[in-house]
Amino acid sequence: MPRAVSHRKPSLLLFLLLSLHLILMASSVRGARGGSLLEDTLLTLFSPFLRSASSLTSGFASTWHRYVGLRGVEQENRRLRARVGTLTLEAREAEEARHEAERLRALLDLRDTAHPGSIAARVIARGGAGSARTLVVDRGSSAGVARQQAVITPRGAVGRVVEAAPGVAKVLSLVDPNSGVAALVQRTRVQGVLVGEGENTCRLEFVSDNAPVEVGDVVVTSGLDAIFPKGILLGVISEVGEAQGLTRYVQVRPEVDPHRLEEVLVLRSSPQGAAAEAVPPPAGDGS
């Protein structure tokens, strides 16, 4: 080992230092009874280093604990985020269930009060390429559903049954061009036939040019078609055109939006009972 140092032994220095330490030790032992000036002095001399070391140690420990805590926070954050996602999903499902319960309650109220014996059904499909002219419900002939039965909701008429299989039935909505419902204007009792226009509107046909109809008038079923009971809400007049010969164009906006239907009520018996079954479906009903 290269040592460019003096080999003279520091005997005197060693003696002095060892003596100093012995004095220190003796002083410390005595100080156990009441305190030591030397110890205090040395502690004072070393105190800056002690404080620095202590603060460094504390800083290191604090940083370490924060780091460990941060890892814990990250894990907890991930867990809570997953929990929030689950709870959000559950809240949405609960909200959806509440809405469904409200709709079904209204449907049951309608069935129990106005149309006892009618059949509650759920819309499971909409016919046509994106249109809502026909609906498929999850109750069919096995549940008592038959052709030419009226389909309604608590808000108003939906359409009529045109096909009934054992498990499902097809409903022709009011907006289908093949649909025709005997109707009357509630305010003035003007009668006509509500025919679908294919989109979201219908028109009231056979309204004379001098009939007292206005935009905003309520249109209800007249019951003359032997399918719908009298007085069921069909829609509201949204446009009254100029006279075209003996009649005029009256547009009606249906009260029930077939695009948003989920549950309906199928009226088991029409006003004329079995007579309704005898009425042949209009052309195109089978489509």
Partner: protein
């Protein structure tokens, strides 16, 4: 190695010993970084400087550990002197003799403590041989690591 580097090394040894004492007491009980520092200084510094630095290291250890003030100062001063003397007589520039010196330093410490305690009429519990061997091995390994690192410092 300049004096400030030696003092910096002492501060580092004290800091690491404190950290070990707080966060890994089982390791701290089995290694004496102040002894390693003293051996290193004694083998690499002039005898006078080594004795003074060993004395300061011992005093610092006394202040940090709260034992009788001067106890470790006495031991480290004597250790620095003995190692310096041996270093001037034999070659300690290879890992094996250095390891032997560090291992022996681990045995020197409790023996000196026992003698000093007896001289002052104090009670002293001498550690078991197994503990001493573990301390010696730990000191040896850490000491060699210290020599290796210090040789590569600028």
């Amino acid at each position: 190695m300049t004096l400030w580097k030696a003092l910096l090394g002492l501060g580092l040894a004290a800091l690491v010993q404190m950290l070990l004492g707080q966060h890994a007491p089982s390791i701290a009980e089995r290694c004496d970084l102040f002894a390693i520092y003293t051996v290193y200084i004694a083998l690499t510094r002039p005898p006078r400087t080594a004795v003074v630095l060993g004395s300061v290291a011992g005093l610092l250890q006394d202040a940090l550990t709260g034992v009788v003030l001067g106890l470790n100062g006495f031991k480290k001063t004597l250790l620095a002197y003995l190692v310096g003397t041996l270093g001037s007589l034999f070659m300690f520039n290879q890992p094996v003799p250095r390891f032997g010196m560090l291992f022996a330093a681990a045995f020197f410490d409790p023996v000196a403590s026992l003698l000093l305690s007896l001289a002052m009429g104090q009670q002293h519990a001498f550690p078991g041989i197994g503990d001493l061997v573990v301390r010696g091995l730990t000191n040896g390994v850490l000491g060699l690591l210290t020599f290796w690192v210090a040789a590569r410092l600028p």
